[in-house]
């Protein structure tokens, strides 16, 4: 993350806007980490069992909405300047779009074939092999796209992790 203009001795140690940026960066970092861990657990159906798998999937859907909302500015900005930007930005945009499609369909199909969570809420849907197949295919596609999505931003992840590792309360960086 770029730290912006160089700070001088006259500057206050942590300005309000800087504090806001730091808080937002921290929120992004931990939320993205939570999503990655939750997805890894949710995909490991044998480890979690069907009940945790389903509830985790529904929770993932909610957190995914928050994640998308927090990065909606990026989506709009990148989509607008997609024509004049370099190929890397295009690749990131394409990976993110595919991930959005596959994860949305994966969670939606998971809800439609739910065996534990929805009946617990009093909703019963008839079984469908189509949605079962869609769930399996999109889950596999998501498993491929999630690490790519994270790895395309590895410099940001390493940078923020380093700053957090060096961060002490009362210090600006």
């Amino acid at each position: 993350m770029n730290t912006g203009s160089p700070t001088s001795l006259a500057d206050p140690p942590v300005t309000a806007s800087r504090r806001r940026i730091l808080a937002r960066t921290r929120l992004d970092f931990w939320l993205d980490g939570l999503l990655l861990v939750a997805y890894t657990f949710a995909y490991s159906l044998g480890f979690t069992g069907i009940a945790i798998h389903e509830w985790l999937g529904i929770g993932l859907g909610v957190v995914l909405l928050v994640h998308l909302t927090l990065h909606w500015d990026w989506v709009i900005r990148t989509t607008r300047r997609l024509v004049c930007r370099g190929s890397r930005e295009r690749v990131v945009w394409l990976v993110n779009l595919l991930l959005l499609l596959s994860m949305t369909l994966c969670i939606a199909s998971g809800i439609l074939i739910s065996q534990v969570a929805l009946p617990r809420l009093g909703i019963t849907l008839p079984a469908s092999s189509f949605w079962r197949q869609v769930h399996g295919t999109t889950a596999t596609l998501t498993l491929i796209l999630v690490p790519i999505h994270a790895a395309l931003r590895w410099r940001w992840i390493v940078g923020v992790a380093r700053r957090f590792a060096a961060w002490r309360p009362g210090r600006s960086r």
């Binding site: 160089p6 990655l36 890894t40 657990f41 995909y43 490991s44 159906l45 044998g46 480890f47 979690t48 069992g49 069907i50 009940a51 945790i52 909405l65 998308l68 909302t69 927090l70 909606w72 500015d73 959005l100 499609l101 949305t104 369909l105 939606a108 199909s109 439609l112 534990v116 849907l125 008839p126 079984a127 469908s128 092999s129 189509f130 949605w131 079962r132 197949q133 869609v134 399996g136 295919t137 498993l143 491929i144 999630v146 690490p147 790519i148 994270a150 790895a151 395309l152 590895w154």
Partner: protein, 160 residues
């Protein structure tokens, strides 16, 4: 307010995707309750997965709580993610290095970055876009002895 506006846009986008999925299901005749499972034979993948479940390669538990005995499933997922991430990161690093001509930043210059002329500079110095001004200042400071040529001689450049 901005958050709510963005959230509604996201919900709309997700709803469109789910709607398209429903249309797809309808077109394939596989919507909920359509009974398609009776009409269509399961795919090879589904059969393979069923075989794996039967052979206890993949065990699905109906009970609550984690099954520590089945950490192999979790480990397999982690390994797949780690391998894919490593491939992408390695590719990105190699491409980045290739673009920079295989030159690493000078020691002690962690905050330095490269301008489009291929020379290292401090991040606090203005971007290379203002080249004429830089050239003028370089000429006045007598920095034309830069081995990279007169076009690159401006303050802040660090020749690797």
């Amino acid at each position: 307010m901005k958050f709510v506006r963005h959230l509604s846009a996201v919900v709309l986008a997700v709803a469109v995707i789910v709607g398209l999925g429903m249309l797809w299901a309808h077109a394939c005749g596989g919507g909920p309750g359509s009974g398609s499972s009776l009409r269509r034979a399961p795919s090879r993948e589904a059969l393979l997965r069923l075989e794996q479940v039967k052979a206890s390669v993949i065990r699905v538990h109906s009970g609550n709580g984690f099954h520590l005995a089945d950490t192999g499933d979790l480990i397999r997922t982690c390994v797949i993610e780690a391998v894919l991430a490593t491939v992408v990161i390695t590719g990105s690093a190699v491409r980045r290095r290739h673009r920079r001509g295989g030159v690493s930043p000078p020691p002690g210059r962690k905050a330095a970055c490269r301008c489009r002329h291929g020379l290292w500079r401090q991040r606090s110095i203005a971007a290379c876009g203002s080249a004429p001004m830089m050239l003028a200042s370089a000429a006045s400071s007598g920095a034309s002895a830069n081995p990279a040529g007169p076009g690159h001689a401006w303050p802040g450049h660090v020749v690797p």
